[in-house]
Assembly symmetry: C2
Homo-oligomer: 425 residues x 2
Amino acid sequence: MNEQVKIIKGNLIFTKTSNKFEVIEHGYLVYTDNQIQGVYQVLPPDYAPLPVEDYGSRLIIPGFSDLHIHAPQFSFRGLGMDMELLEWLETNTFPEEAKFQDPAYAKKAYEIFVDSLRRGVTTRACVFATVHRASTLLLMDLLEASGLVTFTGKVNMDRNCPDYLCEETQESAEETLEWIKDVKHRHYRNTKPILTPRFIPSCSDELLEKIKMLQLRYALPVQSHLSENPGEIAWVQELCPESEFYGDAYDRYGLFGADCRTVMAHCVHSDEREIARMKENGVYIAHCPESNMNLSSGIAPVRTFLDQGLHVGIGSDVAGGSADFLFRAMAHAIQASKLRWRLADDSLRPLTASEVFYMASKGGGSFFGKTGSFEPEYEMDAVVLDDKRLGHPQEMDVQQRLERMIYLADDREVYAKYAAGKKIL
Amino acid sequence: MNEQVKIIKGNLIFTKTSNKFEVIEHGYLVYTDNQIQGVYQVLPPDYAPLPVEDYGSRLIIPGFSDLHIHAPQFSFRGLGMDMELLEWLETNTFPEEAKFQDPAYAKKAYEIFVDSLRRGVTTRACVFATVHRASTLLLMDLLEASGLVTFTGKVNMDRNCPDYLCEETQESAEETLEWIKDVKHRHYRNTKPILTPRFIPSCSDELLEKIKMLQLRYALPVQSHLSENPGEIAWVQELCPESEFYGDAYDRYGLFGADCRTVMAHCVHSDEREIARMKENGVYIAHCPESNMNLSSGIAPVRTFLDQGLHVGIGSDVAGGSADFLFRAMAHAIQASKLRWRLADDSLRPLTASEVFYMASKGGGSFFGKTGSFEPEYEMDAVVLDDKRLGHPQEMDVQQRLERMIYLADDREVYAKYAAGKKIL
């Protein structure tokens, strides 16, 4: 008997597939170090002598992966919501991100960000920092200390941005190389680098080439933005007349899946060719419904992505989105899909609770490997939810309690949290 | 000097018109009993000797009016969100509402509802109960005890609903009469009756006639539902082939503004004739954006309503909406208007923060009289907000602090609350 075996007990609920919830009432979740051994209604005799952390009637769900969030934008979430993407970047985002040149400011801002993420339902995230190497490392130090598991990226941008934030092409590549080396020296357990060219309008061809060289040399994953806004898409076509479609402008430089793990945020207006290429290349989509509402971008055809078997996860996209609490993004995903069905295309059925749960857990979680489920061999990420604040007069089963928490819960319901085998809250 | 004069101090923010916020930093709000005397940057000398309740740097806003909420549905908010209106009524709503025949169940459920409403940003509300007289009175007792100001209605329905909930026509009218008499005997200060025919499909012509007689006899206001869902609208046309449009089916019985104050929830699919009649008759619209997302109803053309000078307020429509916290409904109103702009009609500009604030405060508040503003002679409803939980690294002015609370705040930010001149929290 391995003495590292640990057991927690509670109302387990998770998804193996997107179409239904698996529920084990008052079940046992057995794990060793960072690997789940299994879930059981009745504890196998071998485990019987071991101590059990009993969470009573609370719910236990897998941790969620936030596939797209901007750490420096957390400070102005909920503000300046009366613009579309490109104006919003110029007016709100770039001036705020420029402040992160100052490590003291970055420390203050990033502490608030990391603390909020730690207290929510997210255990893993793909995080944008800014162009600044020092403050990106500071963010990564804080994330590592939190126990959260992340891919975090220093942003690259060498054109079409204000002078105070714009990098020289060579400088951008060199700083990124130095940042990668810095990260290696820090030997983080849970905090990994990800290449982060902001989006095509901010990155010259030459810069994309240099980023690809770093990608090959260090076998790093990539995150960026794709087909969020019609004005942006038209601009990309002007900037890259040779590209067949927006995503092709990344693909021409080898930064669009295939040989490198890639997640693209939004994909609101992806056409058939782009969708086909994402599928072919195994590109992950970070669906960011609240951001797509707030910046008037539109509603992504998630049902199409799911039907065609693409990888789709959920992103909060703070500060396009206001809420880093991922249940909120899941509710927005369902709501947006209903409005798309009513207003734009009633051939695409709205999303269901189990589908958005799957996207936030196992679907998006697979970007990190085997995470987001309680199946054997999955990593041990779990969130314990206590819904006693949310009073109700009637009986409610476990699935109902979870479904309403998608709409009603906030960080007060997060009772305990495990990420990569460690209890972090 | 009237010794009843009271003064509170803080960062005052409110709207006189929908296009901008009025801000008085560290200002004084002076009121007598239930009437606001004025707001001042510098306290007039006459008031100088009086004690001041100083809320420091906290924000003070007028109370909000929730123009449409179903008290018995609070128990299943966030549940059963995968249906459109008519199926949702049959599957979720009617079975739950039937339970309110039992006063013990009603007490348990309504205590949870009233407690939540009391802790939020709402000071006034138009509330649907159920068909049951006893439990409606019980709800009104609880609302009165809370200090909230409401119009609360016993529901009428005599057709197209399950036997276990359906009233006989005569019984429905008689029970409503008895209920009105009961309410009169209770001499509530803040809790008033409102006639509540559920919607046209649930109310026979004969019942509407009888309700109009009660309306005339007791000069009561009216609340109901209008043009929420395409299937519902088609059904109304079948049921009332003589009506020119849905709203006309109420108007033919004198239950659509003009000589009786009326609020209609939704108006998602109101056509030009219906909009013109609402304007002519002074009908209030309760815009319920979250409900209209959750039940796939669509998005109401609020910009059109505002441009044409109709009365528009905000409704949470629990449990079509999941959140009774009205900031959430305001965020949803902005978000929905952006999606409508993008997906359906880009001639209708999205709503702004000041517009939804106005709708939730002074706009909808005028259904109750002079409420929802800090102008002289307005009733004294105010909410004190403490945003210290919502950390930020940068400077922020009062308007920014308010704007982001529309997206970020929950009941933890509600520090104190006044309704009709009394401190109720």
